[in-house]
């Protein structure tokens, strides 16, 4: 029995008056990892920002576990269990590692549980809790981002290009962690990626976004997926 966690219906959104994403239908089930692939500038980030409530929805709906959140503000959507990892400026560089995690903890979410998550996923962070986030290396910052999203007990993760600029070893570690936590917590993950090997390794399904519209989808486990997607996103 699958349970739909995040559902988009006919979502059209963009900046000002110009629609960037048009008429997108998507559903993600509990425990599923879906990758949105496509060239630069095709509306992938716009899609995530709109789900998160940063951008107005021109038409269509977004619902979380059946509850409509189309008019939700970012902080309300975050409190309903959606954790968003933007591509840029995703950390407070001048705050410590601990403060960056504590900020995301709401009400009942407990620092001790957060510590458990850290020690399970990226234990090295425990020694660096008092260090400023800006002094971490690029890869360490991404791990902190991952930790922060997992520590808040989110149901849905929205991840925007987390692998940009990362070494292959770090990327494969991320794949492991994301899948393990998905299995443990039943997370639903929507990720936007340029990195094909990461996409194919981590996700279950993909959709292709082309000029703001979904132009294809498939199972990432298929043999020829890598080649198929590459044909779409490269020159």
């Amino acid at each position: 029995m699958t349970e739909t966690v995040l559902a988009l219906k006919g979502l059209t959104t963009g900046y000002g008056q110009a629609p960037v994403v048009r008429d997108v239908d998507l559903t993600i089930d509990r425990g599923e990892i879906l990758a949105v692939v496509g060239k630069n500038g095709m509306g992938k980030t716009t899609l995530l920002k709109s789900i998160m409530g940063y951008l107005p929805k021109f038409s269509g709906t977004v619902s979380l576990s059946g509850q409509s959140v189309s008019d939700g503000k970012p902080h309300q959507i975050a409190r309903l269990g959606v954790a968003y990892i933007p591509q840029e400026k995703a950390l407070f560089q001048d705050l410590t590692v601990e403060e960056n995690i504590r900020l995301a903890l709401r009400g009942s979410a407990d620092w001790n549980e957060a510590r458990e998550t850290i020690s399970r996923c990226f234990p090295f962070l425990l020694d660096r809790l008092r260090q400023k986030a800006g002094t971490l290396s690029g890869g360490e910052q991404k791990m902190l981002l991952m930790t922060r999203s997992l520590a808040v007990g989110a149901k849905v993760l929205l991840i925007d290009e987390i692998t940009e600029g990362l070494q292959p070893s770090v990327i494969s570690n991320l794949v492991k962690i994301i899948q393990a936590e998905r299995d443990r917590l039943g997370l639903a993950v929507l990720l936007v990626e340029q990195n094909l090997s990461f996409t194919c390794a981590v996700s279950d399904r993909y959709v292709l976004l082309d000029k703001g519209e979904i132009s294809g989808s498939g199972n990432t486990r298929d043999q020829d997926t890598h080649a198929k997607i590459l044909a779409h996103i490269s020159l």
Partner: protein, 607 residues
């Protein structure tokens, strides 16, 4: 959605018949002058007396409106220029006595002092990169400094009690009423003509989008400074009248509180309407004089409450509300006639000799060793490439590769951290954007960057302002454009929308308009940042065809940042691949398409 806007707008604009603006202005001004002439015979002496002062205040409120309502400079400092005019006059009359020559000298010196102060303020407040808030802060500091200087002048300036008892121009109260009234009518008419001329639209353009103006080759800091000096002179003239009329000056007239009072009158009347601030000042100051005696504190309280409410709920002030309700009433009575107006005429600009340079054969753009750092973060390093006339070079690469940053470095000589860039054989050095335009750089931004409240025709005129100048007293109704810009306008159907405000255009048409504005600059090198973003397939094809033609017929050098790789493949003569701030490949379309390196950059496994 925008099509609906367009339709509503074109229906709304046919509401009211209109005579030629100049005629209307003359009629209104004549009526106003007659009004000024007869008023003293119908009202009591006290009211005449009060109204003279109100009209002096109205003339300076008008200058605040030009600065704030049109140019977008929120100024707290007009009071200082007013005080300059008033104190110079009072000091001369106090220490030299009165004579007609001295009165004239006082006027001239007062203006000179005000202009000198305004020059200092403009130097501090208007420079490439200064924020609106900073400019306001400087205008706020000015009255504070001037007030303190007046206080510290001791017996010379009369310190806190000011100067009084000096002899002034011997006119009766009625005569002053006529002089000041006529001045106010003339000043308002002149301001009205100017703000409705082509050059007046430039003020609005600067307020709306100063950056775009700079990239159209206009030195906005200078334009702002000149307007600021003119407004300072208006303030000084008002001060001269004030000192002559009231025969008393005190430091309060220089102060920040008086400066904000002017803003309150302008805001209540309606910023950016000229008449609103004038009428607002007259009504409020006149009413204050009458009511202050009976209800001194309540009256000021009421003004405060109305002021806050207007700022929050009716930021455009009360005049627009009044006039639109008047129009509504009128439309109930009279059926509106479609108004006759001559649409903007587009003409072909005469060919300039600049094409000679193109035939010289040298590179249009040479970039060598360019780097850009933000603190310790290197965004670009070791960028070397050339591009020649007639070439379309595409810059591609993943997000964050530094493509837009590179464009910015080419269009603004102040932006790069190292290396040299030359355009048509001239090193751009540290030239700001408006001077880079003079060298032949035209830049189109990623998000359509036009002047929203101006019409399409006006946007194009502003784009031509550097080459053709702008009429300062009327709407010429003519815009000369080079062949390339005309071609885009016609191909996209914009020639039917010349009287339409740019904000109601569809996204695609806005992009086309901006491209036409850039071409109107007659550039040699054009930088296009994602010209197809958000366009439909058909629009994309059209833009692609036009760009290819332009490169061929006009021998333009086109540098393009583009995410739509199909588009890149179709139109580019060469492709440069940027990755993490470096050029990883510079070659033909085929070379790039077949490159394993590029594939790995895009697949994300290359590092």
């Amino acid at each position: 959605m925008s099509d609906v806007n367009l339709k509503e707008w074109s229906q709304a604009r046919h509401l009211r018949p209109r005579a030629s603006p100049l005629m209307r202005m003359l009629v209104v001004a004549t009526i106003a002058l007659i009004g000024v002439g007869v008023t003293p015979f119908f009202i009591d002496a006290y009211s005449v007396n009060v109204l003279v002062r109100s009209m002096i205040y109205a003339s300076i409120a008008l200058s605040v409106d030009i600065l704030w309502g049109y140019l977008g400079v929120l100024t707290f400092g007009q009071s200082a220029f007013f005080a300059a005019g008033a104190y110079v006059t009072a000091l001369i009359f106090t220490y030299q006595g009165f004579s007609a020559e001295l009165a004239f000298a006082a006027l001239v010196i007062g203006i000179a002092v005000a202009v000198a102060m305004a020059g200092l303020v403009a130097f501090l407040a208007f420079w490439h990169g200064a924020t609106d808030l900073y400019a306001s802060v400087i205008t706020l500091v000015l009255p504070i400094v001037v007030t303190q200087l007046l206080f510290s002048g001791g017996t010379f300036t009369g310190s806190s009690s000011g100067l009084t008892g000096f002899e002034t121009v011997p006119l009766s109260i009625e005569a002053w009423f006529w002089v000041v009234g006529a001045w106010l009518v003339i000043l308002t008419s002149a301001a009205w003509l100017y703000t409705r001329s082509d050059a007046g639209q430039l003020l609005v353009a600067i307020r709306e989008n100063e950056q775009r103006c700079q990239y159209l080759g206009l030195n906005t800091s200078n334009i702002k400074a000149v307007i600021f000096l003119i407004c300072a002179s208006i303030g000084a003239i008002a001060g001269w009248m004030y000192a002559n009329y009231t025969m008393v000056v005190a430091p309060e007239i220089a102060g920040f509180v008086f400066g904000t009072e002017l803003l309150i009158w302008v805001a209540l009347g309606g910023r950016g309407t000229l008449f609103g601030p004038v009428i607002g000042t007259l009504i409020i100051d006149y009413a204050s004089a009458h009511l202050q005696g009976d209800f001194p504190f309540i009256w000021k309280l009421v003004i405060g409450v109305i002021f806050v409410s207007v700022i929050v709920a009716l930021p455009r002030g009360l005049l627009p509300v009044a006039s639109s309700s008047l129009n509504w009433l009128r439309s109930l009575v009279i059926k509106a006639q479609p108004k006759e107006r001559t649409p903007m005429q587009l003409r072909q600009a005469s060919e300039r000799s600049s094409t000679a340079a193109n035939e010289g054969g040298g590179a249009a753009l040479v970039v060598s060793g360019v780097e850009k750092r933000f603190g310790s973060l290197k965004v670009l390093s070791g960028i070397d490439f050339e591009a020649t006339y007639g070439e379309i070079v595409s810059l591609v690469g993943p997000n964050g590769a530094g493509k837009t940053t590179l464009m910015t470095c080419i269009a603004d000589g102040l932006k790069r951290s190292g290396g040299t860039i030359s355009v048509a054989g001239v090193d751009i050095g540290h030239r700001p954007p408006n001077q880079c335009v003079r060298l032949g750089v035209g830049r189109k931004f990623q998000m359509a960057n036009v002047f929203d409240t101006l019409t399409v025709g006006e946007c194009l005129q502003i784009a031509r302002a550097r080459l053709d100048g702008l009429s300062k007293w009327h709407k010429s109704g003519i815009c000369n454009l080079p062949q390339s810009a005309l071609h885009i306008i016609r191909a996209t159907g914009l020639d039917n929308d010349l009287d339409v405000p740019a904000q109601v255009l569809s996204h695609g048409k806005k992009q086309a308009l901006e491209l036409a504005m850039v071409l109107a600059l007659e550039p040699k090198v054009i930088l296009l940042d994602e010209p197809t973003a958000g366009l439909t397939k058909a629009e994309r094809t059209l833009i692609g065809t036009i760009l290819t033609e332009l490169a061929k017929t006009e021998q333009l050098c086109i540098l393009l940042v583009e995410h739509d790789l199909d588009f890149v493949r179709e139109i580019s003569s060469r492709v440069i691949v940027l990755h993490q701030g470096r050029i990883v490949l510079n070659g033909s379309v085929d070379e790039v398409v077949n490159s394993e390196l590029v594939k790995s950059v895009y697949a994300g496994s290359g590092h």
